[in-house]
Amino acid sequence: MPQVLTANRLQIGEVAYWAGAKGWVSDFADAQILDDADAEAALKAAAEWVRKGEVVGVYLFDVRVQNGAIVPVKIREAIRAAGPTVRRDLGKQAQHVSL
């Protein structure tokens, strides 16, 4: 199953996604989709960012294709990507159209 690597930015606490060469991005849409081999490498690379104090709580989560788009399998990750479902005016969803 394809995966995405995520973490929270240490200072502002915001959700971030691993985008490979681009480092950490804020939008799920820009995240790098990882197969098993990539995932290992990404975790290793991410550890450096943890050590540097940029991010905390790095982990992988599953994604799948739905209607031609990549979406998280778990609702928890959909919520992390967008913001609270009960406050559409807050979080990333309020900044632009996301999931």
Binding site: Q11, G13, V15, V50, G57, R76, P84
Partner: protein
């Protein structure tokens, strides 16, 4: 209410500076996250799904207007303009940023507030009856002991790294408005035959994965001994509580494992030594000094009946509805205890905007209310309103969406933040609360149903207190999909009981229908005057199960 002297004030300022240093060490990399996490938790700072969450301590749920106004300002300046009142009488800000927190702590310190020990494995915010100082039949103001315990437990050198969190609650009436027995230590002020006030102490309550009600460990602990007795309990727990498994680390597990008699034996042995040393003996002088802060307002002697109030009820049915549920008798004639509902239909239970906080602070000043209280059911209380002022108060609350006339009714739902906010959650709780509220919004129907406490948690940690809801709802993750289990028959009042799981759970679509079905069984089977809880206790689960799961 308690006012800091310069010792208290210096301490919270120093703690804020200490935290500033800890944040700096984290940002410089001197502290790893593993090392920093317990330190930031000791200052109430969580990393949640979207952002940091800062939990501000509101000792025994009491705030002055100055403090409430400052909370509104802090929420606006550093967060997203609102806060969430919790089931432990605290306030949470959900959008904090790490570098801001030291400054937020300094601003809080300026109004005698802090975030110490609102999380972490230490003694947490000590909760109390929100009607303290106003309720009939109160033996003494329970907050006197709460303040004494707050100081004793703050930065305690021996008990800052306990096996797990430790929650204490104090009440002083027969009525339990604070869910007493679900606490690690529960204390009830009582009188002995000689009329002396002492404390009945219980230990080992707690919800979560394995809920227990606290059991009596001391039937009458004298005032001068209470600190020593509590220290003994904490010491036994710190030494013997499990450290190998986070889910088995609360004192309730220890009590269950060794039994209450053995627990009592150990505590009494430890207490005997403490008592001999006399170092924790509480001087009557100190108790009186603290008690003086809780003497309460000087009450006027208004007439027992207020003609304006009666007229307003007659002329204004909406006001009359509000009075029916949200106004409670006060120990002094001509006064009343008013509940400000934070449960408007379709909003987030317990949330309060900066505008609302500031407006409430202004109302407090206008109506001479020195204190406002936070309840564990996520509402606010104005404890000493003149009956003749109630209509004017209500008129100000209405445009602010703070006048929902639903205290204790089916739409007065307790809900944790759940998967919309919380890193620990398995399911969302707020949308379920909102959907139930909308289904039962009709006020007449609500009045027909009477007292009906629904409590919703988004995970087994039970911050929504679902085990003690008349109807409890527990959100779980069932194969990646949100699923909701129904528990019935819990109570957090003096008739405390833990709810029983009814049967298989329901998905987001089905849970509201299921709740309506369960309530339908109640209306079908109830006798005159029975609340939902009473009917359930009389007929038991089978009737409810049958009607819910019959297909």
């Amino acid at each position: 209410m308690y006012r800091y002297d310069e010792f208290d004030s210096v301490l919270v300022h120093e703690r804020a500076e200490q935290f500033r240093g800890q944040v700096a060490r984290r940002l410089s990399g001197e502290l790893t996250e593993d090392e920093f996490k317990p330190l930031r938790l000791m200052n109430g700072l969580y990393l949640q799904l979207h952002s940091y969450m800062l939990r501000i301590a509101i000792p025994y749920g009491t705030l002055s207007s100055r403090q409430l106004r400052k909370l509104g300002q802090i929420a606006r300046r550093y967060d997203r303009g609102y806060g969430h009142f919790t089931t432990r009488q605290n306030l949470q800000l959900h959008w904090s940023q790490l570098p801001d927190v030291p400054d937020m702590l300094v601003e809080l310190a300026e109004v005698e507030m802090h975030c110490m020990q609102t999380s972490g494995n230490n003694v947490r915010n000590i909760s109390a009856d929100p009607f303290a100082g106003a309720a009939e039949g109160e033996i003494e103001d329970p907050r006197i002991l709460c303040e004494i315990l707050r100081q004793w437990s703050t930065l305690h050198p021996e008990f800052s790294f306990l096996p797990r969190k430790f929650k204490i609650c104090v009440i002083a009436t027969e009525e339990d408005r604070a869910a007493l027995l679900i606490h690690d230590i529960a204390i009830k002020a009582v009188k002995n035959e000689a009329g002396e006030i002492g404390y009945r102490v219980y230990v080992g309550g707690g919800l979560g994965r394995t809920p227990y009600l606290a059991q009596e460990i001391g039937s009458f602990v004298e005032k001068r001994d209470i600190l020593g007795f509590l220290e003994a309990i904490l010491r036994v727990y710190n030494e013997a509580g499990r450290r190998d498994n986070i889910h088995k680390a609360r004192v309730k597990i220890l009590v269950h494992q060794i039994g209450i008699d053995e627990m009592r034996r150990r505590v009494e042995a430890e207490f005997a030594e403490i008592r001999k040393s006399q170092i924790l003996e509480l001087p009557a002088e100190e108790m009186s000094r603290i008690a003086a802060y809780f003497a309460g307002p000087v009450f006027a002697t208004p007439p027992a009946v207020s003609p304006e109030f009666e007229a307003a009820k007659r002329e204004n049915p909406d006001f009359a509805d509000w009075v029916k549920t949200n106004v409670h008798p006060h120990k002094v004639a001509g006064y009343a205890i008013a509940t400000v509902s934070l449960k408007p239909i379709g909003k987030t239970p317990g949330d309060c905007t900066s505008e609302q906080m500031e407006a409430l602070a202004d109302m407090m000043d206008a109506f001479g209310q020195e204190e406002i209280r936070v309840t564990h059911e996520q509402n606010l209380i104005l404890p000493h309103m003149l009956v003749s002022d109630l209509f004017a108060l209500w008129r100000e609350l209405v445009p602010l969406d703070l006048a929902t006339a639903n205290h204790g009714l089916v739409t007065d739902i307790i809900a944790c933040p759940g998967l919309d906010y919380c890193d620990l959650a398995n399911a969302r709780s707020i949308p379920v609360a909102q959907a139930i509220q909308k289904r039962f919004a009709d006020l007449e129907r609500q009045h027909d149903l009477g007292e009906l406490k629904i409590k919703i948690s988004g995970c087994i940690n039970a911050c929504g207190h679902h085990h003690v809801g008349h109807i409890g709802i527990l959100g779980v993750d069932r194969k990646g999909v949100e699923n909701y289990q129904i528990l019935l028959g819990g109570s957090g009042a003096q008739d405390a009981s833990l709810g029983e799981i009814l049967g298989p759970g329901f998905d987001s679509e089905g849970i509201v229908d299921a709740v309506e079905n369960v309530i339908g069984t109640y209306t079908h089977l109830r006798h005159d005057g029975e609340r939902f809880l009473d009917t359930y206790r009389r007929v038991g689960a089978p009737a409810f199960k049958e009607r819910l799961y019959a297909r």
